[in-house]
Assembly symmetry: none
Homo-oligomer: 218 residues x 4
DNA sequence: GATGAATGAGTCTTCATTCAT
DNA sequence: GATGAATGAAGACTCATTCAT
């Protein structure tokens, strides 16, 4: 019953001309996705928008899902790079500074291609294993966890897996909701402070007190 | 040619038999949605699953989107009722208690129909989606804001609009992420504490200190 | 990879209107098959020729192969009935008479729809388990074997499975070749004699000698 | 728009390298034909299997049908050579011996490439098919007729055209049916006897004396 | 009201074939 | 000559929706 299985590109596009065609197709895919939404996106529309024959499109991608998957991967890779770079950069900085910087970058990242982000987020069914933000979140959680590990003495949390999940999910959600529902918030630089505060209070020791947080006891 | 925009049921189904038919159809819709996913859901399948002719189905709903919208509304109403009830119940309780209770209910709410929740969340395009969590969140924000207004002296935040947005979004996101990606977390009662902590630290005054958090002024 | 699995009709066409539609479609299928050949036959052409929408066609048949299969079954059933009827009729008659009659009917059968026969025979890939003539041949072999069993004393052959396979295959092939390559032969009543002779000499005892033919020994 | 009719190779491939390329292509064609069946055979697949670019393939053959036609011709030529050689060899031998030998060779011939034979026989449409067994049969009939002419005194038949048609068709059909439907028969050497008997009884005088059919005795 | 047969625009996809490099 | 990227006509098939009964 299941129609399409493959989500991976068909051939590697070795020649210059091929490479170009693939790029043109992916750009058109993103454009149509944004303009029409996932459901109304069709391989024919994409081909037309790309100024490429439908045959060429199918030479490189086995179908619609593969196209979308490629767009996702491309976009995702950019974001991941941005996040990973920042994580590396702040690795040695104290929690408060590092958190703020990561929050800032996260918000910035969401502003790169907000419309595409919205479509990918709201309309695109899960494709392949993990989709879109999920993959990014997983990687972000990994990076944050590594950071927390190195800065344990600044924390009041004990379960680092849980803490990194909580922190990343929260930042992601707040940023995401702001982008989609309160775009004006993004303009206010104040928003960064607010999100940072939320996470920092959750993670960090109450000012200067080196005691661990007791979880359930008084 | 022009797509149908109407998303409202066709007749109010005043009579008892009609009401029943509508229910049967909506249940079938939810079932197919869960079983097949949004894309593979078709009006014909729904009609068959409901044991109703396709013609009858169209007598009550103008199309697929209206069906999904109705399912969303139904589900949404249940959740809203739950949340509004809780909000009412905790209105007079102190911040810490009220927050914990609302978090608990929120998590509970997400566990009601997790598969349907997933489909509605991950696969269902805009039209319906708009009405889904967004509507709930908006209402939740309204309720939380009202509560915060009444408990201002317990807070360190000043902008209640922002604070309620932050709080609700965070709880929603953590709960949501837990349901979809870490279902085992939900089992641990500990998770409620964790989410509560996150929100509470953000909102409340540092223990016993009656000073407000200054946001813009000194 | 395999595209279509089902070769069986989709629904049973209970109402009068449905039944009619199915018939119209099958007739159109046969017509197009004859006119265009198997490869150039398409579901769209069939639908057009039947004066039916492509959607209706797919309501009853899952695809091209199922259509052809249905045509084959229909045609095949007619032939089988003819052959089975004859077999029954000649069951008590002596070998020489019975053989002649069966050969005559076989030739007659091939003349029913020679063009369709040709297409089905020459161009139609094996569909489903057994296809077209194969099924008929199998049944014919069964019937002939039953006859031979009852008339063992007239035979010089011992292995009835083999003998019926040889006899049926030979008659089928000669008739078939005549239809396709020497149609004028069919006109000559003489042809029946010739085919009958071929089979009879193979099967029957040399005139009046009641001894069995020894197969491998002297 | 107009379909290509040409079925002849494009250039005579005079040079050694060309000849080699042509061979590689034809072998690939046969391989794909066997592996995928006629319908799923495509020029692109053939080119890939042959390790040749699609462009090169079209330099030697005007299209798919020409490729198949060439494979048929090649295969056919081998068979024809085999048959013609045998006919020549047995030309002076008595009917019983010659018949047996020809039947043996015919069966042997069918065993050379049974899978290719099956595809060519069952799935390959007219254009190629015409050239396939039909051409062989025609030639075989010619050869058999010539033989019969020379051995008229051993025959009980008068119409040699008819007799050779009958004989060849019968042998061909029995062999063919055995290959495709009762492959185990081919193993039994006995099968040669059986087919020989069938034809011999049809053709030959009842052992010169009052109708008696001797099969294996001198 | 209920029914379900009929519709057909629109999708995906393949593949023989061409042609610029 | 060789290459393989590009082409696009054509075919299979789905499904939201209508409408005669």
């Amino acid at each position: 019953m299941a129609k399409k299985l493959s989500v991976t590109p068909r051939k590697q596009a070795l020649q210059a001309r091929s490479r170009e065609t693939v790029d043109v197709i992916l750009e058109a895919t993103a454009r149509i996705l944004v303009k029409e939404g996932y459901d109304r996106t069709s391989t024919n529309k994409i081909a037309r928008a790309a100024g490429v024959s439908i045959g060429s499109l199918y030479q490189y991608f086995p179908g619609k899902e593969a196209l979308v998957a490629a767009v996702i991967t491309k976009h995702t890779d950019e974001l991941l790079e941005l996040i990973a770079g920042t994580a590396l950069r702040v690795a040695q900085l104290p929690l408060a500074v590092a958190t703020r910087e990561l929050v800032r970058v996260m918000i910035e990242a969401h502003a790169i291609a907000p419309k595409l982000h919205r479509v990918l987020t709201e309309q695109t069914p899960r494709v392949g294993r993990l989709a879109y933000m999920e993959k990014i979140d997983d990687e972000a959680i990994r990076l944050v966890r590594a950071y927390l590990e190195m800065h344990r003495d600044e924390l009041c949390v004990e379960d680092l897996d849980l803490a990194s999940f909580m922190a990343v999910t929260t930042v992601e959600a707040l940023t995401h909701a702001a982008v989609l529902r309160q775009p004006e918030l993004l303009a206010q630089p104040h928003f960064v402070d607010e999100v940072t505060t939320m996470v920092l209070r959750y993670l960090s020791l109450p000012d200067g007190k080196p005691r661990k947080r007791a979880r359930l006891s008084a």
